[in-house]
């Protein structure tokens, strides 16, 4: 029992970093997903090609490589600092999952029945109106469960920022483990439990999104 009261408060010191990295990178990822997803279904070939390169680069290499690359290479290559380690982590996770999610956005838009597009053309809607009023409201519902799933992935990915020196939950866990090796199993079980508790609302939202996406979509 004393171990619990010792370990948990130590770990929770990292909670703020983990949650702030998750929220910020999720916002970047969602924004990038819609920008890149919509660009890839646009008529503009140049826009399509540029986003395809972005998506393939970020999906083709692994997150840890991108994280280290941003951490070491950007300051060296361009002589600019990304602000701080926090920004490096957030940008890496955000751009990486933005690339994955853009495929979800693209897939969902393409999955909306063709008849919907045809009908909205027949009703003389502009392409902007068509996207905003007809296609996206149906596509977004289909995206919901995937957005939930990828948000859980992003939560897991935030643990990587401890590798670039951010003081998140895993960082404090590692510090404790290095001073007290015999308690390592308990410490890591607690780290895992904290992450799981953080994931629970996301799991719940994903299930809700799944239920939501099933009803009322024209097919």
């Amino acid at each position: 029992m004393s171990a619990v009261t010792e370990i948990l408060p130590q770990l929770l010191r990292g909670l703020g970093i983990t949650i702030s990295v998750l929220l910020a990178s999720a916002i970047i990822a969602y924004v990038m997903a819609f920008i890149a997803g919509l660009s890839r279904v646009s008529q503009n070939v140049i826009l399509q090609k540029i986003t395809a390169v972005y998506v393939e680069i970020f999906r083709g290499t692994s997150l840890i490589v991108q994280l280290f690359w941003l951490y070491y290479a950007i300051p060296m290559l361009f002589g600019i600092q990304l602000g701080s380690n926090w920004w490096t982590g957030v940008i890496a996770i955000g751009l990486n999952y933005g690339a994955y999610l853009s495929e979800v956005v693209r897939g969902s838009i393409l999955a909306v029945d063709k008849g919907q597009t045809e009908a909205s053309i027949a009703l003389n809607m502009s392409s902007f109106q068509r996207m905003r009023l007809i296609i996206l409201p149906q596509a977004v519902r289909m995206m919901l469960p995937e957005f939930g799933n990828y948000s859980i992935q992003m939560l897991k990915a935030t643990s990587l920022v401890s590798l670039i020196g951010m003081r998140d939950i895993l960082y404090y866990g590692d510090i404790m483990r290095s001073t007290n090796l015999s308690q390592a199993p308990l410490i890591y079980v607690f780290v895992l439990l904290v992450y799981f508790v953080l994931a629970l609302p996301l799991i719940w939202l994903t299930r809700k999104g799944e239920a939501n996406s099933k009803k009322g979509v024209a097919s």
């Binding site: 083709g60 290499t61 290479a73 060296m76 992935q153 643990s159 199993p185």
Partner: protein, 250 residues
């Protein structure tokens, strides 16, 4: 501190990083093989007709898949030797296989499950009617139909695991990421070796994802024919939708 790209560093780092390539690929295959086998364990435990076990295993899977693989890796490497009674010290490579393999086996178990669920109910009924034994039923009727449509999804997981394997560099497995980092630390030149790692990943994972997409088209058409015989358009829609999500992680 501005530092320009140096081609000499690039070519000096190249052979050193490439030394780790064999280990990275070997580790990917080992993790994938472990996950393929262990995935069956989850799938079969979840079919036990005793709901507390099913419920428990479902939550264990949910727990494993929604917590970071990096922490699980550290758990296997640092904490497992400290666990009383069963604690054993393992080398980093085995730890990586266990850690990453168990994490992804939960995903692969789900894939098997979706494959088994996709087999038409009539096939179960017919094989029962023909008096097949349980083993024969699985071996001759269910699995031959359940597994082929899962192959493209498993292929995707192979690529995903290839991209996850650099995590093992944190516990000292000498893959390409480890080589690049140690070269960087020695010469204080991270830019070039890390770029090499990125290029290697792009060169290996992009062509394989194209190959898997082709395989997917091939197996899906075969599968669609089966579904047509089963006369179940709704199920066909559900499955092809499931199978097409080539990059869906969960």
């Amino acid at each position: 501190m501005s530092h320009n790209w140096k081609w000499e560093t690039f070519f000096e780092a190249m052979p050193i990083v490439l030394k780790g390539l064999g280990i990275t690929i070997g580790l990917t295959f080992a993790c994938f093989g472990f996950a393929l086998i262990f995935g069956f364990v989850w799938t079969f435990i979840r079919r036990i007709p005793f709901s507390p076990i099913r419920w428990f295993v479902t939550w264990v899977m949910e727990f494993i898949r929604s917590t970071p693989p990096l922490v699980q890796l550290f758990f296997v490497y640092y904490a497992l030797p400290m666990v009383p009674v069963i604690g054993v010290t393992l080398d980093p490579f085995t730890c990586a296989v266990l850690g990453i393999g168990i994490h992804y086996s939960t995903y692969i178990g789900e894939i098997y499950r979706s494959g088994i669920d996709s087999v038409d109910k009539g096939q179960w009924e017919a094989s029962t009617a023909l008096n097949f034994s349980t083993l024969d039923k699985w071996k001759k009727i269910i699995l031959p139909q359940a597994l082929p449509p899962t192959i493209p999804m498993l292929g995707n997981y192979f690529i995903i695991m290839f991209k996850e394997v650099p995590l093992a560099s944190t516990i000292g497995v000498g893959g390409i990421m480890f080589m690049a980092n140690s070269y960087g630390a020695l010469n204080f030149a991270y830019l070039e070796p890390l770029t090499i790692v990125g290029i290697i990943f792009l060169l290996l994972s992009y062509p394989s994802s194209i190959l898997i997409n082709r395989l997917e088209v091939k197996l899906n058409t075969r599968f669609d024919k089966n579904a047509l015989i089963g006369k179940s358009p709704k199920k066909r829609f559900f499955l092809s939708k499931n199978l097409e999500g080539s990059d869906r992680i969960v």
